[in-house]
């Protein structure tokens, strides 16, 4: 901690004294840098010369007519003095082959920015194939980082800088580049073979994509990485694999980021292969110096973080936060956490994260299938653990029948569904909100469960915690919906303290209780009590057959059945008394109310913020408690001329709202592309209503 503060102080000092553009923590590093800089000057002169020669050669060899001429290239690398510009906001998109390490590169950049106190939001956009054929569009993996001096709520619609490690990456991602965005490419990969493999019609991909007027930076990343590590003794394959660090170095220069965090990461990551630590550091620094020396970018940028709320911060992804929130609920309930689960994208990392924390009273079972995941969890709930199962859409389908069993046996259970593109296998790595209907209705019989949705990576912690609290205190299954976007995205998070979270009181029946009846309920929550096997005198039997209203013995009595159906519905509805009121962003009345739920929060918020700045009477409200809805939901809707429900499906939440508020008209804004909304799309749909 102190070390990081120190860096921060030093950075300010450096900035004030304007010693240099480069920020280094200590003298030793600085001296190393100077030496490197000299070395790089030599290398640079050599490499630029060879680069230009190669470039020209390749132009002729490939016989493609460059719409940007040689002088333009030289201009990009001219010796003009680099200016440092302070900016508020930048979006960078790293893209390359799925084996190029783009997810790591993006994560390191994001984490470094987060450590400096910037607002950060990330969006990994990767293919379902682990290693698709090299150089093809289907194998392109992307990672978008949005950094801002203030609070960041989305990873940004479009990027200011696009790093494309090969022509396929350029092709797949050019559509995400803002007009005039800087595009950094690995010049070594832009040869005839690479361009053809990416499926370009001509040999000039830039013209073909209409990018000729963008700020194009041709950095021979592969060859310079090879040059950088030629004396390292590493084999060629390993050397080439570290080219992502060269690209990262370039970005560190342009956005004035320090190395320390990344160096620490290398140390940790290569603990077992220490001979890779120094080469990775070297490539990163060489990339940085290459950019500095070539003045690759006309300006360097500095994002000066706004003063944030005091406290200790960390970076967190949605799946990590979900796992931790569940562990927190287990701690506050003083019950072991049991997770029965089966790997499925994009939910797997919750199971992986839970598996690490066995010492926090966590038991994880990677079982034989999705059904076993929920059934082991139900067994564990019966035996008195806080039981959880984690999955994504197709897995939730498989768990449907067992969810009914949990409803019938009225046991606490949290089912986490990290939604992805469907139906069927669909788009495993893409995001969607298409499981809402399944969560609400996807079971046989009258089978209500509590449905909650998290809306940002960090608030997955909060809602996972409350999913656990409600499940245990109300003796009901709870489905927690997140989605691929918030599950894999990360953001800085002010770390909460557990003393600020409430204790959870599961209604466990004490030994010697003479009043116990398996289905006798409390008046407030209508929850039955939880009698755990091994407690003397409470032996009882429950199961999937309809239960007698009181004794819980199997009952086929028609009147009893209807009574129980109504009771199970009433119990879930009663949760409404225990959840907070729905809040509005903006004025409580106006022309348009944007309604969202779950993971679209950041985009809706950014859109409404911009619309309000434009003077429009637009407010928004984002739902986290879906079933039941907060008590004041109806009141909120009364006060707007128009209501538009924005969701990444064909209108499932809108349809649900219509069933509850038949007197209100709901407009819809829908998108089902496996992608998050863009702020621009949302604004456009609202503007149409104004």
């Amino acid at each position: 901690m102190t070390q990081i503060k120190q860096i921060y102080a030093d950075k300010n000092q450096l900035r004030i004294t304007k010693i240099t553009n480069y920020d280094f923590v200590d003298e030793k590093n600085f001296m190393n840098f100077i030496t490197l800089k000299i070395k790089m000057h030599i290398l640079f002169k050599f490499s630029i010369k060879t680069f230009i020669i190669r470039k020209i050669k390749s132009i002729f060899a490939a016989k493609f007519t460059m719409t940007y001429n040689k002088s333009q290239i030289i201009n990009k690398i001219s010796m003009n003095k680099t200016e440092r510009v302070e900016i508020d906001d930048v979006v960078i998109r790293f893209s390359g082959d799925s084996g190029d390490g783009m997810q790591l590169t993006g994560t390191l950049f994001a984490d470094t920015a987060a450590l400096l106190g910037d607002g950060v939001s990330t969006f990994p956009d990767y293919p379902a194939e682990i290693r698709a054929p090299h150089g093809t569009v289907s194998g392109v993996s992307g990672f978008q980082v949005h950094i801002s001096s203030g609070t960041v709520r989305t990873p940004g619609d479009f990027c200011d800088v696009l790093i494309a490690m090969n022509p396929a990456a350029l092709k797949a991602n050019a559509k995400w580049a803002k007009k005039g965005a800087t595009i950094i490419v690995d010049a070594d990969e832009f040869n005839e073979k690479g361009i053809q493999r990416a499926g370009f019609a001509t040999l000039d991909p830039f013209a073909e994509l209409g990018l000729q007027d963008n700020n194009l930076i041709f950095a021979p990343i592969t060859s310079l990485t090879k040059e950088s590590l030629k004396d390292s003794g590493l084999d060629n394959k390993v050397i080439v694999r570290s080219k992502n660090m060269f690209a990262l170095g370039i970005c560190y220069f342009i956005y004035d980021q320090p190395f320390d965090f990344t160096f620490k990461y290398f140390k940790m990551k290569f603990k077992k292969k220490p001979d890779l630590i120094e080469p990775n550091k070297k490539v990163l620094v060489d990339g940085y110096n290459y950019a500095a020396n070539t003045h690759a970018h006309a300006n360097t940028y500095k994002i000066v973080a706004h003063k944030k709320e005091k406290g200790i911060y960390r970076s967190i992804s949605g799946n990590q936060a979900t796992a931790w929130g569940l562990i927190a609920a287990s701690e506050k309930a003083n019950l072991p956490l049991f997770c029965g689960s089966y790997p499925i994208t994009p939910a797997t990392s919750i199971l992986e994260e839970l598996a690490i924390h066995k010492n926090l009273n966590v038991k994880t079972l990677q079982v034989e299938d999705e059904i076993a995941g929920i059934c082991t969890a139900i067994g564990a709930a019966f035996a008195g653990n806080f039981a959880v199962t984690t999955t994504s859409g197709p897995g939730l389908s498989l768990k449907s029948e067992a969810l009914g069993l949990a409803v019938m046996t009225e046991l606490p259970l949290v089912v986490v569904d990290v939604q992805r593109g469907g139906p069927s296998t669909g788009l495993p790595t893409k995001t969607e909100q298409t499981d809402l209907n399944q969560a609400l209705y996807g079971r046989n019989g009258e089978c209500p469960v509590v449905v909650i949705a998290a809306s940002t990576p960090s608030d997955c912690f909060h809602y996972a915690f409350y999913a656990g609290k409600i499940a245990m205190e109300h003796m009901t299954p709870v489905i927690l919906l997140t989605d691929g976007f918030i599950a894999n995205g990360s953001e800085p998070w002010k770390i909460p303290q557990m003393k600020d979270y409430p204790t959870i009181y599961p209604p466990i029946v004490p030994e010697g209780d003479t009043d116990y009846k398996p289905y006798k309920r409390d008046d407030v929550r209508l929850a039955r009590r939880w009698a755990l096997p091994e407690t003397m005198g409470l032996e009882h039997r429950i199961g999937g057959l309809e239960k007698d209203f009181l004794s819980g013995e199997a009952s086929h009595d028609p009147i009893n059945h209807e009574k129980m159906v109504n009771m199970r519905a009433a119990k879930v509805a009663r949760v409404q008394d225990f959840i907070p009121n729905q809040e509005i962003v903006g004025e409580p009345c106006g022309d348009v109310l944007m309604v969202g739920w779950g993971g679209t929060f950041g985009h809706l918020y950014s859109a409404v913020e911009e619309l309000q700045k434009e003077g429009k009477k637009v407010s928004m409200t984002q739902f986290n408690y879906i079933n039941p809805l907060p008590k004041n939901t109806g009141e909120i809707f009364q006060n707007f001329k128009k209501i538009i429900v924005c969701e990444l499906n064909l209108g499932q939440f809108a349809a649900y709202l219509r069933t509850q508020f038949s007197n209100i008209s709901f407009e819809q804004c829908n998108k089902v592309q496996g992608l998050p909304f863009t702020v621009a799309e949302l604004k456009e749909s609202v503007n149409k209503l104004l």
Partner: protein, 340 residues
């Protein structure tokens, strides 16, 4: 703990069909539980019965213990969850040939593979009873049922072969009418650490009457079954004059008569239930009537690490080196920074 059968008796009325083999297995369980409680020093509230769906899966309602009547096929998964959540429980899983080997086949073999310490009683009547008479995965080839009016064209599973194929550590077989043998098997299964599978050959008097009739025949039973006992020679027959030897030429088991062709008792194989090697156990399990006697008793009883043990050991190891001891520690672990 000292209990009587009365302590485990449920107030519920047993609702199987008159003459159903399940009654006999129920009687054996009622006899076994007090013995298990005494020998393992268990209190009654530690016994938990878990079942799936089917006639036999009504069982938990008929024992005065903790019970969970699950959904079709999932009993192995549910009982796995129960046992991991509270390893002190003595978990008894009740399942049938449809529940365990058709819809629940996956959970069944994986529970065995993990060697989780549960006791599975598999009621094998070779038919679907609760849905009124369709063939099951253990129905004999060619059997005529409602869904196979011209006879089945499917080969049946032999449950024991599945268990041993999954390297199960305990497999025993009994016949509904052999209540004493069933009781003994249940007590040994409870003592065994790891997954114990007890196949109970039960008669379905309504839909598959006398499916085990050939071997349960009162007069001829002793000639058609062999009750295996660990360490004892594999001798059977009314007159104890038949035995099993290994036919070295064909590498298979062979029935011989003691006193004939120079065969003496010394030539008869000695049953070793405790050898980890699956070969001989697989052969014994696979013996089919009428050519061979059907093997009953404890065919395999092998000591190996259980899932429960491995979980416990790993947890102790992790705890010993853990730096994070509560959620606050967890939240503050790794890279953090302070804003002042």
């Amino acid at each position: 703990m000292e209990y009587t059968q009365q302590d485990f008796k449920s107030p519920m009325e047993l609702k199987w069909c008159p003459g159903c083999g399940d009654y006999a297995v129920h009687a054996a369980v009622q006899r076994a539980l007090p013995v298990v409680a005494k020998e393992l020093n268990y209190t009654k509230q530690r016994f938990t019965f878990v079942s799936g769906i089917g006639c036999s899966s009504r069982f938990p309602y008929y024992v005065n213990c903790y019970g969970f009547h699950g959904i079709h096929g999932r009993a192995s998964a549910i009982s796995t969850g129960v046992k991991v959540a509270n390893p002190r429980l003595s978990v008894w899983q009740i399942t049938g040939d449809g529940d365990a080997l058709a819809i629940g086949g996956n959970h069944f073999i994986h529970a065995i593979r993990r060697n989780i310490d549960i006791n599975i009683i598999l009621f094998n009547n070779q038919i679907y009873g609760l849905t009124k008479g369709q063939y099951s995965p253990t129905s004999k080839l060619g059997i005529i049922t409602k869904t196979s009016p011209y006879g089945t064209v499917e080969h049946p599973f032999n449950p024991g072969e599945l268990v041993i194929g999954a390297r199960g550590t305990f497999f025993a077989r009994s016949l509904d009418v052999e209540i004493k043998l069933s009781t003994d098997i249940m007590v040994e299964a409870a003592k065994h650490d790891g997954t114990s599978v007890m196949e109970m050959l039960v008669n379905c008097v309504i839909f598959n009457d006398k499916t085990h009739g050939y071997i349960s025949d009162k007069e001829e039973r002793d000639n058609r079954i062999i009750v295996l006992q660990h360490g004892k020679p594999m001798i059977f027959g009314k007159n104890k004059d038949k035995g099993l030897i290994l036919d070295r030429e064909h590498l298979q088991l062979k029935v011989v008569e003691i006193g004939k062709d120079g065969i003496t008792e010394n030539d008869i194989l000695i049953h070793n239930a405790e050898t980890p090697d699956t070969g001989i156990h697989m052969m014994l399990t696979g013996m089919k009537a009428p050519e061979m006697p059907v093997a009953l008793g404890i065919i395999r009883n092998v000591t190996d690490k259980t899932y429960d043990d491995n979980i416990r050991d790993q947890l102790e190891e992790v705890k010993a080196s853990a730096k994070v001891h509560c959620v606050d520690d967890l939240l503050n672990s790794g890279a953090t920074w302070e804003v002042e």
